[in-house]
């Protein structure tokens, strides 16, 4: 029973293509996130969705767009892919507020390694 699952795990694509990464969580969490881990291993948040509302939108190119059909899903769409988009993308989820004994219950997916050639 995977708590946060994202697909695909690996994605190789050509420059200029449009691609999507899917994420689903079965934890009943209220908020979902996308993080980018660059080649130097630095992790930075890109987006989060809370009850279908975008509540964080870091300064990422508008070629990246999160789409949340429901509370359990947050997909990441990327248009006109560029070489610099190559990275590992992590989906995560959490509660809105900390729960007793479990804080926010942050849980990460296993990551999607995107390679743009």
């Amino acid at each position: 029973d995977t708590a946060v699952s994202q697909t695909p795990k690996y994605l190789v694509t050509q420059m200029g293509n449009d691609k999507s990464i899917k994420c689903e969580q079965n934890l009943g969490h209220d908020t979902m996130y996308w993080y980018k881990q660059d080649s130097k291993k630095f992790l930075k948040i890109m987006f989060s969705y809370n009850n279908k509302e975008l509540i964080i939108n870091e300064t990422v190119p508008n070629r990246f767009s999160p789409k949340s059909p429901d509370k359990a899903h947050l997909n990441l769409h990327i248009n006109s892919l560029e070489l610099g988009d190559s990275a590992v993308y992590f989906c995560a989820s959490s509660h809105n507020r900390p729960r007793q004994g479990s804080s926010y219950g942050y849980t990460f997916g296993s990551g999607t390694r995107l390679t743009v050639v």
Partner: protein, 114 residues
């Protein structure tokens, strides 16, 4: 904005010994959470330990413990009896009082020498 600093890009320790990874952070909030995550080569993000800022007692999880100094904004991780399986990247992370995302440090690569 909150910042998290890990000043040790890489650390090496002999198996069975103890190692401490350092982390400092900057925030104006009084209510927050701090985390240490482990990322092995499999790239899975694994929660090692967490600390609620309002708790004075340092968190412990088996061989892992933290030294949380709120006034100094310091949050170091101590790994006792290091094992080969502890080899990984370790990230310190900060979570503010709202449902914001985590702010990560740049990570420390921990090497375990057999």
């Amino acid at each position: 904005a909150q910042t998290v600093t890990q000043s040790q890009p890489e650390m090496s320790v002999q198996e069975a010994e103890t190692v401490t990874l350092s982390c400092t952070y900057d925030t104006s909030e009084s209510d927050y959470y701090l985390f240490w995550y482990k990322q092995p080569p499999s790239r899975q993000m694994i929660l090692v330990i967490r600390q609620e800022a309002y708790k004075q007692q340092n968190a412990t999880e088996n061989r892992f413990s933290v030294n949380f100094q709120k006034a100094a904004k310091s949050f170091s991780l101590k790994i006792s009896d290091s094992q080969l399986g502890d080899a990984a990247m370790y990230f310190c992370a900060y979570q503010g009082g709202g449902a914001d995302g985590l702010t990560f440090g740049k990570g420390t690569h921990l090497i375990i020498q057999p």
